[in-house]
């Protein structure tokens, strides 16, 4: 590879790198340098430490729940044959379509005093509401449960891949040495798959740390909630910046650990001789137990909350006022954001092909945006606004919001395009250049058609991610530009859950599209 020489073609990617990286850099700078506002001691004792501890304990409980849900499910789905196994194989990914805040609304209603669970309990036992203990969702474990139930598929996907990559020979060797089903899992399969499982867990925890909506709705004081509240109170800008710094550090640690573990799913032995695809049969009783386990997970994490929202929408004949303008502004913001983030992702992907330095820079910046929670990026944009002396209104606000979208989601767009490119032969570029194709011509004739399948997936993912985004949209949207997510959250926190159901269901419906795409891709790779 020739030494990198500055050229005109490096300018657009460099500009975009700056654009994508700026919000998180501003937020970090503000967090480190600080400024006016309360004293450091006050922030540390009254804000930073309690918010951080709440966040970390939520993540800890969520990690345990996610492992408990995902690892056994992944193991039985890869290892055994039981009724419904094929459906569960992909259905266990569906909860990813639910944003944490929607899951929180649904379960808060299901578990409320007037909700179906407690009503049934009272009917059966004859007790009154004060006479029994019932788990409270509006707590740290409650938030952890809500986040874990939407994010555990990250762990499930990596665990399943790691389990199915272990050759059957390894497992059969263990069995020939006298290992029963229990030993097989604890002494062989789990230790070998552990790096991959931890990698998936870290990604899920990074997403959980970025949550704002569920924590705010459930009244749990996490860092994400703290940032938005501190900013809204206007007096405490400095606190917001310090909290953001802490949150970014936590998220980055998870991202770095996840990347360290990526692709290290044990020793990849590649014998095909012994990879009989057959799964072990179970005795009828155990098989139904496996079915029951998977069905329960899907019921709790997907079917029950959605059924409850649908029931609420139908039962109360809930109307969401102004649905049409709401859809319009959501679609418009989504389309502009998708268009720009897509352009940035495309330029990143192509630039990464051309130069090693640009490749590293784009990776780093895209990852920084990906790991930085929306609340942090929103804060960075607001600091930028304050420095320029503009006010948050009209097109300035929209431009700022779209900027944050691009910063946060460009990496989500790069990933599928890069995956498409990685599957192509390495010398394709040289071949096309040897045929006299360069510059724009190469882009139109070679790069774009090749990247197209990945690009379509990228556009879909970007649109849905922007649609689901809550904290930054909440912080930056100008008057009259509410999105579905913002409105649903406003109704839900206002205890008008009935009105929140329709926008929530629309978000889930949109969220299902990329999840189904992902599940289709996973099945396709597993079959080959």
């Amino acid at each position: 590879m020739p030494r990198w020489t500055p050229s005109l073609s490096a300018i657009p990617p460099s500009l975009i790198i700056g654009l994508v990286g700026l919000p998180v850099c501003i937020a970090l700078y503000a967090g480190v340098v600080g400024g006016d506002g309360a004293t450091w001691d006050h922030i540390l004792q009254n804000r930073l430490v309690p918010y951080t501890l709440t966040t970390l304990s939520t993540l800890f409980v969520a990690a345990i729940i996610m492992l408990g849900l995902a690892v056994p499910a992944a193991w039985i789905v890869t290892q055994y044959e039981f009724p419904g196994r094929w459906i569960f194989g992909w259905a266990l990914i569906l909860p990813l379509a639910m944003p944490g805040y929607v899951m929180a609304y649904a379960w808060a209603d299901l578990m409320g005093v007037a909700g179906p669970l407690q009503s049934q309990l009272r009917d059966v036992t004859g007790l009154t509401a004060r006479q029994y203990w019932f788990p409270n969702l509006f707590t740290v474990p409650g938030l952890a449960f809500v986040l874990a139930s939407t994010l555990f598929p990250y762990v499930y996907i990596t665990a399943r891949a790691a389990f199915s990559m272990q050759t059957r020979a390894t497992l059969e060797a263990a069995r020939s040495l006298g290992a029963g089903a229990f030993d097989l899992f604890w002494r062989v399969a789990l230790p070998v798959a552990l790096p991959a499982i931890l990698g998936g867990l870290c990604l899920a925890l990074m997403e959980a740390a970025a949550d704002y909506g569920a924590a705010d709705f459930l009244g749990v004081q996490t860092l994400g909630v703290g940032i938005v509240r501190s900013w809204n109170s206007f007096t405490d800008v400095n606190t917001a910046a310090r909290l953001a710094l802490m949150l970014v550090c936590i998220a980055f640690v998870f991202l770095i650990v996840a990347r360290m573990y990526q692709g290290r799913s044990g020793v990849q032995q590649t014998s095909t001789r012994w990879q009989t695809p057959e799964r072990s049969p179970l005795s009828p009783a155990t098989a139904w137990l496996a079915t029951l386990l998977c069905a329960t997970i899907i019921l709790i994490c997907f079917v029950a909350p959605i059924a409850r929202l649908v029931w609420l929408a139908v039962e109360t004949k809930a109307r969401t006022p102004d649905l049409i303008p709401l859809l319009q502004s959501t679609a418009l913001l989504g389309l502009i954001g998708t268009g720009l983030a897509f352009g940035a992702a495309l330029i990143f992907t192509l630039a990464a092909k051309r130069s090693r330095i640009l490749r590293m820079a784009t990776r780093l910046i895209a990852a920084a945006g990906y790991a930085a929670p929306g609340a942090v990026l929103g804060l960075g944009a607001l600091f930028f606004l304050r420095e320029t002396g503009q006010s948050l209104a009209g097109w300035v606000a929209i431009a700022l919001l779209v900027w944050v979208y691009v910063s946060r989601f460009t990496s989500a767009g790069v990933e599928p395009m890069q995956a498409t490119l990685d599957r192509l032969p390495k010398n394709l570029d040289l071949a096309s250049q040897s045929l006299g194709s360069r510059g724009l011509r190469q882009f139109w004739r070679v790069d774009l058609p090749l990247i197209l399948p990945g690009a379509l997936a990228a556009a879909l993912i970007l649109f849905v991610e922007i649609l689901k985004e809550l904290p930054a949209t909440l912080m930056l949207r100008p008057f009259g530009w509410d999105t579905l997510a913002v409105k649903a959250h406003a109704y839900a926190t206002d205890e008008r859950l009935a009105q929140a159901t329709l926008p929530s269901l629309l978000i889930v419906l949109a969220g299902l599209l990329p999840v189904l795409l992902l599940s289709w891709r996973l099945n396709a790779t597993e079959r080959t």
Partner: protein
Amino acid sequence: MAAIRPLIADQVSRSFGTTAAVNAASLTLNPGEITALIGHSGSGKTTFLRLLAGMERPDQGQILSGDTVLANANQHVPIEKRNIGLVFQDFALFPHMTAAENVMFGLRNVPKPERRQLAEQWLDRLGLAHRRDAYPHHLSGGEQQRTAIARALAPKPVAILLDEPFSGLDPLMRDRVREAALNAVREAGVPALLVTHDASEALVHADSIAVIDKGKILQTGTPDTLYNRPLSLEVAQALGPIHSIDAAALPDAWRTVIGVSADTLRYRPEAVQLGHGVPVTVRGSKLAGAITEVALSFGGDETVYAACQPGAPLHPGDQIEASINPSLVFDFTPKSS
């Protein structure tokens, strides 16, 4: 210690869908002997090994250890209860355990303090004393395979089954690893099955050989019997090169020596010996390692092939003489009575 018993497959069949992978196969593995099972890929040799190990259940027939039934149509002792050692082509070591820990895995019935000692003894015996604490990804292929053999033998199995154990190894080290590994297997004194597609490996190292084709075991016997007295063309082909010739094209002298009874004859190339005999013309020769393959003609269109070590280089057109060794000429035409 209980006497070591043979491992017996008795008329065992196993089908996948409509294809019979193993079809009424019978084979007895005797203690202290290495039995090679050879066949090309898809012949059913791996399925047969899996049936013996307990990874597959037979549709018909039974598998016995001495007189104890391991599997038949009604019962099936699962793999983890059979105590049969397995060695795989890709070693299948546990990647998260050291060599010693791998060997200790199957020693659950041994008191803890002795486990490590026993594992180390096995590793020492296979020449891996200095690699005890290495992880599999730090071991060479040969070291991994010797660890796998130690792991399979340490729990004192009732039999050991090796599936293409040496074909994944670098040819340079294959011989040394094979020697060490098979010596350890033989010393263990248990019935051993060596599944391989390498005829020379089977001929050199096995005490007896079984040839499997399309799920059927065609012939079982000593290497000498199978190479020199194959009962069918398939068996003859499985063990080494074989050529066919139209009997009518042979010179009279050879026909007399052979005692021709069929139209088409098969012969091993080393049956044709250069030296005194009938005059032949060299059509071509090529060096194939220790031996030279020579194509000869009697003057007609027919070509005979010889594998030999000629004293001097041969050139097309050279006139020499050749004789035939009738014991390496076979007639596989079905006998009509």
